[in-house]
């Protein structure tokens, strides 16, 4: 056996258990709730805090956070497909594009729906697209499904490039923003009220009255309201994710991923559950695409390239497939790191690639592995310890 691979996970598992015991106070329910609330508040306040180190220089931090939240949302959706149901979907960008294009068509290109109507329409259309793609293809397994979905992503891109009704190469412009809340008179700052940002360079006068974000105005300049919108969607989706996963549905997905034939024999209609996972993943991807369209105001086929699919899959794998928070963190990192290290200019993708490779070597199960992977590692460590003892004795 390869000693290296034997050692790496066990050390990890020991590290994890000591980490876990150090944070055992987290098992306390009120503490847990307080921490969750704190985390949510920090997440919403993050773009206003201007925290040193993590705030990106040279790129609008609100925009970066919007991307990060959108990618986290995408990773949640793809995690249902890859992490829960075990279906390798390499064409997820197709659903992202479907959501964005549905929004573009309904609000700008052919109709003039308001965004808030187009959003649910985009979700439903993408879900139906997922069902249409899934119904024939989910009968093939493993690698074949990956190839079929890869093709789907490309087909969507080629269709949008060539069909005039979809805007062809010119894309779709003038996609409206979500409605504002509060006054929106021209020439003055809108919103119900204005929230000042913090500025640490002028310490101790850290409240920066010159830089405010109106609540709530969706404009082309300030991306923060868009970030809040996506963040809200993210939290709603993750609650839904928790509820559905901790039920018969989640068990059926897991059983199907583990052993499809055995699951079927145990009375799980595996095809139906795979299709459900596929459609849910598609719907969430479509939702994210719709947010992207309204934020950018303009979409073109050039956005929805195949590498985006790879990035989405990378996000899920980096974070830890099967663990929703891990996947979300993966999404955030994938969006955030390249922008944070923009200072390295041309080298940032190289650095990002290196980081991915190192992760693949030292932590192949992702930063936050799913519960099953953690438990398996702990068991491995325990066995190794026992074996070590017998050898010593």
């Amino acid at each position: 056996m390869n000693r290296y691979y034997d050692f790496a996970p066990s050390g990890l598992a020991k590290g994890w258990s000591s980490f876990k015991s150090a944070f055992s106070f987290l098992d306390n329910r009120p503490t847990k709730i307080a921490l969750i609330v704190l985390g949510i508040v920090v997440a919403y306040a993050l773009p206003l805090l201007n925290l040193p180190i993590i705030t990106t220089s040279g790129v609008d931090f609100g925009g970066v956070l919007f991307d990060a939240a959108a990618y986290a949302l995408i990773a949640l959706g793809l995690n249902i497909v890859i992490g829960y149901a075990g279906l390798l979907d390499l064409g997820y960008v197709g659903f992202y594009a479907t959501g964005a294009y549905t929004t573009g068509l309904l609000t700008s290109q052919h109709w003039h729906w308001p965004f808030l109507l187009a959003l649910p329409a985009a979700i439903v259309v993408t879900m139906i697209t997922g069902l249409i793609l899934g119904a024939p293809t989910l009968r093939v397994r493993g690698d074949y499904l990956a190839i079929v979905t890869l093709g789907f992503g490309e087909i969507i891109r080629l269709v949008t490039t060539n069909v005039d009704w979809l805007g062809a190469q010119a894309g779709i412009a003038n996609i409206p923003s979500p409605p504002n809340i509060g006054s929106n008179a021209p020439g003055q700052q809108g919103g119900l009220f204005q929230i000042p940002h913090l500025s640490w360079s002028t310490f101790p006068n850290i409240i920066d009255v010159g830089h405010k974000t109106p609540f709530l105005e969706f404009g082309p300049v300030d991306a923060i309201p868009f970030y809040w919108l996506v963040l809200t969607a993210f939290f709603i989706v993750i609650v839904g994710d928790i509820l559905v996963k901790n039920s018969r549905v989640g068990r059926a997905w897991e059983a199907t991923r583990e052993d499809e034939d055995a699951a079927e024999v145990m009375g799980v209609p595996t095809f139906r559950f795979k299709l459900l996972a596929f459609a849910l993943g598609a719907a969430i991807g479509g939702m994210s695409g719709s947010f992207f369209a309204t934020r950018e105001g303009f979409i073109s086929p050039l956005t929805f390239i195949i590498t985006l699919s790879e990035l989405f899959v990378a996000a899920v794998i980096i974070g830890g497939a099967g663990n929703r928070w891990g996947a979300a963190v993966g999404g955030v990192l994938v969006a955030y790191l390249p922008d944070r290290f923009r200072g390295f200019a041309d080298y940032r993708m190289l650095v990002f690639g290196l980081a991915l490779m190192m992760l693949a070597i030292w932590r192949p199960q992702g930063i936050f592995p799913a519960r099953r992977a953690r438990r398996a590692l702990r068991a491995e460590a325990a066995i190794e310890e026992l074996e070590g003892e017998t050898v010593d004795a």
Binding site: S247, R248, R251, D261, V268, A376
Partner: protein, 272 residues
């Protein structure tokens, strides 16, 4: 629940499963050739035969993995033909696997709960909105799963990952998982494979206990002592044909069986 059956009264009972002149061909190979037998309600039927006799094929055609080339299988009055496998499970046929096929990354409890979910009507929306029905079936599934874990003797390790259980516990967990689907007929495919004599003894007791609960059991097994000790009736297959059928005592004295099977038992065991 039907009363436990004694071997002498089985013939008077209703047939639960009827295998009627079933033939299966894979290309030029005839895996089952006009096999006819039935399983009566409440009995333990042993299906034996040398390696390659068609036992597992028979099993697979009953559980919908293969379709019969000709002939019919009727379960509880219904013809099983082109019915999806999960529906066959819902009709009431459950099985274990010769090579253990648990959901390894799920806990023992979750494994059994998957089985208990077989008749659940909870889908996406009921789970998402946490309807009263979801809560009810969830707690019922859990209670039933825990009860079954206790029944097969794997309780106390309910939260252990299935992959981390000992070999014997994994085999017993498979039985619990199959029982959780609430079957009328429980099919055990070589449940004693890899067991030592003490474990086989325990398994025999477990199978008897299962029958006492009112289940009908089909047992495919290599181990002669186990089959003779626990079954009410035995069907012997050889090269895809049924060569004998009867009580354990009759089978033991049947010259065709002795020639085909018992006579080579030692070699057979050594080979497997």
């Amino acid at each position: 629940m039907p009363e436990p059956t004694s071997p002498t009264t089985t013939d008077a009972r209703r047939s639960l499963l009827e295998v009627d002149d079933v033939t299966i061909r894979f290309g030029g190979v005839t895996a089952m050739d006009g096999v006819t037998f039935d399983i009566k309600e409440g009995e333990i039927l042993g299906l034996i035969g040398p390696n390659g006799a068609g036992k597992t094929t028979c099993f697979n055609v009953m559980t919908g993995v293969y379709q019969a080339t000709s002939g019919q299988i009727r379960f509880d009055g219904q013809v099983l033909h082109k019915i999806q496998r999960y529906k066959i499970t819902r009709l009431g046929i459950a099985r274990t696997f010769q090579n253990i096929r648990l959901f390894k990354s799920m806990t023992a409890l979750e494994n059994v709960m998957v089985g208990a979910d077989a008749h659940s009507k909870v889908g996406f929306f009921r789970a998402l909105f946490r309807t009263p029905m979801h809560r009810k079936t969830e707690s019922e599934s859990k209670a039933r799963a825990l009860e079954l874990l206790k029944f097969v003797g794997v309780d106390g390790r309910a939260d252990e990952l299935a992959a981390n259980l000992s070999y014997g516990d994994q085999r017993r967990l498979e039985i619990a998982r199959a029982m959780a689907t609430n079957p009328k007929l429980l099919c055990l495919d070589e449940p004693a494979a890899g067991f030592n004599p003490a474990e086989k003894q325990r398994l025999m007791e477990l199978i008897r206990k299962v029958r006492e609960q009112g289940y009908t059991v089909l047992l495919i097994e290599h181990d002669m002592r186990l089959v003779m000790g626990v079954t009410d009736r035995i069907v012997v297959l050889e090269f895809g044909r049924k060569i004998a059928e009867g009580s354990p005592a009759e089978i033991r004295d049947n010259p065709a069986v002795i020639a085909a099977y018992l006579g080579v038992e030692e070699d057979d065991d050594a080979a497997s």
